[in-house]
């Protein structure tokens, strides 16, 4: 009988709902596969801390590493040392540049954001105003979602004024920004957010401006319980859902497979899904997010 495999799952320390779901998926996959899963986080999203964790895991000779890098490029030297030590490395959610990793499991952020942009474009006419709540532009996820969104929007409508609300993935920042934006752009038709927390902020901003649910359309990104709840209550009209717990689950499954010496694909797109009120309940059930939503 083979000894139990040890798999390291190293997350990036993000503490929002989306990441909670991804991490839950990873842990469930670890249990299901019957491996020993060491699950650790780079505290406060600090790269050098994550580097230190990877090095610890190398010295512990784990059988495979699944990692959500804090920084695509910065993690590369440690990853290269892990690979050199014969440890397969699977990137989860965020890619790694500068290292030939075993596999990359994620939503294609650009592709998903293009869907968000197209949907938005279909809701507006030329000359309309759209508010876009931007994720942190110092991170590739934030940059990819923004460029994908703008790309998709421009494919459908060229003459749209986009008012950007910059944030660092912070809900209060999003709320304050949208409040200001609504003040100077009362005619905004759609608020798009780079993540669901921003959408929650947008709803609060509408509340404080005395606007009713639906008077401005909100489109989210993530498919997190909070976002889907908003849709259920009529505050959100569309949500580009990532298969959140699937990302974590597939990431760990792929790591287990690689540790067992099986060959795994270099890129696994866990896909995205445009959730609309019509297919909301179905999606919530199928993705398992429903267990985190209040009835």
């Amino acid at each position: 009988q083979a000894p139990t495999l040890t798999i390291a799952y190293i997350t990036n320390g993000n503490t929002n709902e989306g990441w909670t779901l991804i991490n839950n998926g990873a842990e469930r996959a670890g249990q299901a596969a019957g491996v020993r899963l060491i699950s650790v986080a780079a505290e406060r999203g600090e790269l050098s801390r994550q580097l230190a964790i990877v090095e610890d895991m190398i010295s512990r000779r784990v059988n495979a590493i699944a990692i959500a890098p804090v920084d695509s490029a910065g993690i590369a030297p440690a990853i290269n040392r892990a690979l050199a030590a014969g440890i397969p490395v699977i990137a989860v959610d965020t890619g790694i540049t500068g290292a030939r990793i075993t596999s990359y499991v994620a939503t294609d952020n650009v592709r998903a954001a293009v869907v968000q942009g197209r949907w938005t474009g279909e809701q507006v006419r030329d000359g309309d105003t759209v508010i876009y709540i931007t994720g942190d532009q110092s991170q590739s996820t934030g940059r990819e979602r923004r460029s994908g969104f703008l790309q998709g929007l421009n494919e459908v409508r060229r003459n749209v004024r986009v008012v950007e609300v910059p944030t660092t993935w912070d809900q209060t920042m999003a709320q304050n920004g949208v409040e200001s934006a609504l003040r100077s752009h009362r005619n905004a038709r759609v608020i798009a957010s780079a993540w669901d927390g921003g959408a929650l902020g947008a709803r609060a901003a509408m509340l404080s401006a005395g606007l009713r649910a639906g008077s401005i359309q909100i489109v989210g990104f993530d498919g997190s319980p909070g976002g889907l709840m908003m849709m259920r209550q009529g505050w959100m009209q569309a949500n580009v859902a990532q298969m959140l717990s699937r990302i974590g689950q597939v990431g760990v499954e792929t790591a287990v497979a690689a540790a067992r010496g099986q060959t795994v694909p270099e890129r696994i797109d866990t896909g995205s899904f445009l959730v609309l009120p019509a297919n909301l309940e179905q999606f919530a059930r199928d993705s398992g997010v429903i267990q985190f939503m209040r009835p």
């Binding site: 503490t15 929002n16 709902e17 990441w19 909670t20 931007t134 942190d136 532009q137 110092s138 008012v163 950007e164 609300v165 910059p166 944030t167 660092t168 912070d170 809900q171 209060t172 709320q175 304050n176 920004g177 409040e179 200001s180 934006a181 003040r183 100077s184 927390g197 929650l200 902020g201 709803r203 609060a204 509340l207 404080s208 005395g210 997190s224 319980p225 909070g226 709840m229 908003m230 209550q233 985190f292 209040r294």
Partner: protein
């Protein structure tokens, strides 16, 4: 010598007015009907935290845990209401008790054990936020029941509730600081702790009191903030501690204790909110916003320093 321009907070007042003028020239929307009250509403949470912080800084301490305590009180209250179906008023009471409890914990370690406030509250910064995440599993709770919508968006006599709550807290805090025995002792401890002890002030009890006030006001801020966000989570009020401290110092209170006033902190909080808010009105990009915020904070105090020097001549 109580001329208005000799007050510690006069610089903050000038900065608020000056920045207000700049913004209303730069953006036609700044002076619109609701925006001024809007600035106050947005400032209300930072203002509450800055008010709490003022007590602490006046005793020459510092409370780095205000943001984390806000998150803990808010996250648990939200979790109780939405996940466990607890009555909202009971949840509010629990939040306030959490604030008082954390304040007592901080106060005990600082006043009775003698650990520096910086360490206790730096530890608290991650300890309480970690607890907030742990106890909610990292999930948000949105769509809060009554009376939260009223607290967040209601009005009494045309004054939005967040402003009302904040001003009420300020009036009480200002009274306590300027006109009660406890307030007097707060200043004395910050000015000369050893001396205050020698004349027979119970500096331990007063210091404890300061952190309890801080914890309680943080919980109050948590209630206002979650009502405003219509949701709560362990991520609430992230990094608010530095804004709160900056507001206090912009308001003219000395970081070394003993000198300053609470109304200055309110002005400081408004100033910081206007800076952040103004950037959004001007649609400045994320990175340029960061730079501008830093520069304006330095500039505001720079002008104040020059003014004071002039005055001394």
């Amino acid at each position: 010598m109580n001329n208005i321009n000799r007050q510690d907070w006069f610089g903050a007042l000038v900065a608020v007015v000056a920045l207000g003028l700049v913004l209303s020239v730069a953006s036609p929307y700044f002076l619109t009907a609701g925006n001024l009250s809007n600035v106050l509403v947005k400032a209300s949470v930072i203002a509450l935290l800055a008010g709490a912080q003022t007590f602490v800084i006046l005793t020459s301490g510092v409370d780095l845990s205000v943001g984390a305590v806000t998150a803990l009180a808010g996250a648990i209250a939200g979790h109780l209401m939405l996940k466990l179906g607890v009555d909202p008023y009971a949840a509010i009471a629990v939040a306030l008790l959490i604030g008082i409890g954390v304040g007592m914990f901080n106060g005990y370690l600082i006043a009775y054990v003698g650990i520096p406030s910086f360490i206790v509250t730096l530890g608290g910064l991650t300890l309480w936020r970690g607890l907030a995440f742990e106890s909610t599993g990292g999930f948000d709770n949105s769509g809060l029941p009554d009376p939260f919508p009223f607290i967040g968006y209601g009005e009494i006599l045309g004054i939005p509730m967040p402003i009302l709550i904040m001003l009420l807290a300020y009036v009480v805090m200002a009274f306590v600081l300027s006109s009660t025995r406890f307030g007097r002792h707060v200043y004395a401890i910050g000015s000369n702790a050893a001396g205050a002890r020698q004349v027979g002030i119970n500096i331990r009890r007063s210091t404890m009191g300061v952190y309890v006030v801080s914890g309680f006001v943080c919980a109050l801020a948590a209630i206002v903030l979650m009502a405003r966000m219509d949701s709560s989570s362990g991520r609430m009020a992230m990094n608010f501690e530095l804004d709160a401290i900056a507001a206090v110092i912009l308001g003219g209170t000395s970081l070394f204790g003993g000198r300053g006033s609470i109304w200055g902190s309110l002005l400081g909080a408004i100033l910081i909110t206007m800076i952040r808010n103004g950037m959004n009105l001007l649609e400045i990009s994320q990175f340029k916003q960061m730079m501008a915020i830093g520069a304006v904070v330095i500039l505001a105090v720079w002008i104040d320093v020059i003014r004071r020097k002039r005055m001394l001549r």
